[in-house]
Subunit: 315 residues, 2 copies
Amino acid sequence: MSSAAIPAIAAADWGTTRLRVWLLDRTGNVLAERRSDEGLLAAQPDRFAEILERQLADMGAPPTLPTILCGMVGSRQGWVEAPYTTVPVSLADIFGAAVRVAGTARDIRIVPGLAQRDPSAPDVMRGEETQLAGAVATLGSGRHLVCMPGTHSKWVELADGAVKAFQTFMTGELFSVLSTQSILRHSIGRDAKVAAGSTAFETWCANALAAPGPVETSLFRIRAATLLQGLQPADAAAALSGMLIGAEISAAKARFLTQGGSVVLIASGSMSDLYQTALGLAGFDVMVADADDAVRAGLTEAARHLGMMGSKDVA
Amino acid sequence: MSSAAIPAIAAADWGTTRLRVWLLDRTGNVLAERRSDEGLLAAQPDRFAEILERQLADMGAPPTLPTILCGMVGSRQGWVEAPYTTVPVSLADIFGAAVRVAGTARDIRIVPGLAQRDPSAPDVMRGEETQLAGAVATLGSGRHLVCMPGTHSKWVELADGAVKAFQTFMTGELFSVLSTQSILRHSIGRDAKVAAGSTAFETWCANALAAPGPVETSLFRIRAATLLQGLQPADAAAALSGMLIGAEISAAKARFLTQGGSVVLIASGSMSDLYQTALGLAGFDVMVADADDAVRAGLTEAARHLGMMGSKDVA
């Protein structure tokens, strides 16, 4: 192992259904990676240490290598609760509130999530704050509107390194339950993949953007279009996706777009492609950051901020 | 059996999951009733005749008693397809398009559903058109706005005995899949019954009416309110119901309320109570018709219109 290949930190994004672990060098480069299905649900109630140590040993991590974690592992149902920090809050203060896991040989810390305690708009996030910090490291200060699509999409208003406000949209989860559990499954069939460049996606997304209406009624239009207009299964899946994403963007625009028209999209793979298309249809200038890169950069930032990467890195 | 107790017609509302059959006298009074779970799904592909005859024999119906049906039994996946009539259409013309089941000893007819073929607002209904006809028989002519809550709520604009336009909201189905299949199940728990007079129902419904927004974001507020504000399971179910019903009514108001502020609510049981509360919060004057009574009255009207109840009734 060359000197450059010596791990400075282990980092993990530990969510409800997935665990991703990396060994990173002092500049945040990936030396090793493991992905597993041992998310929160598989690790409860007390298998967290065992699972993490097995993954680290598998990558040859030294037993004293410090480890930084983010995601649902810090929830009340996780390993150790890292209580929410309350917005508005600076990214530095989020990291400063990281919680140390007691009784472990190595130094393990968990980045907390964010809570928005406005009584009329309560909201929470866990994990996305770390992606956000990673992306901001390259964005610089100033005001940014950030879109992080997923099971529960987050839109975030950032200003000068602080999270001012955010809003969650259950877009991905609605697509999932509606395409498999509702009457729309008869329209969509078994393969609910949405093809990149789908005309049906663009059409239904543009309609949702042009005439924002309640999804309760737009949803049934997909069923009616199957019965009356011969909408095909692949197009029905694209229609559902386009309609839900269009409704999300339309509402987020109304909520956050006080100035300018640019958005930072933190996403990966086909999700990134669909949102780039949809945000373009909505008239946004889009800057794209890869979600995997962002979470690793954020975890590295957190470890550095907490002095976990040695004095050389702090200097 | 007294002369008054002689059945003039058998009538059935045959939906996707339920079958309800009645023997009715010449004025539409109920002489016998059977309810079963042998809906469309249980009767496919060719058990329709067998199931209906067993229910009729069980009630002692003569083998030549004519029978009028409505609901999904007339869909393409049903017994015999009764093709949609297209709105605008008069209730008389809907009945006139009833389809006769071939090859049966008794005279069996199926009332067709309605299709709205507007390319920008395709929509369909099957079964509700018969409830509508039953309610209209007592409402008289003129303009009426009708709300029929359910798995797929229908709002209908009626004028002078004709259906002008309608809109479907997947309110009931959204409640069902979200309360059992989404992250909200953790907030709601196992018993998703909404208590009549629930303060949480009224609060969330009033909020949805006052500030109509996308349900994708309001939905996650229920989760956040559980985590941050101590929202309890029974209140979370009421919140979800109130929010979805409020969003439906708000959108229906925007779509249909061109004049006046009264609505005819065709519903039964706890659903009727919840919608009466919600429509009251929205400022509507509400006239209530029982859904079971309405569908029987509509089936009786259809049979009379089709001359199935003997010359005495036509006179």
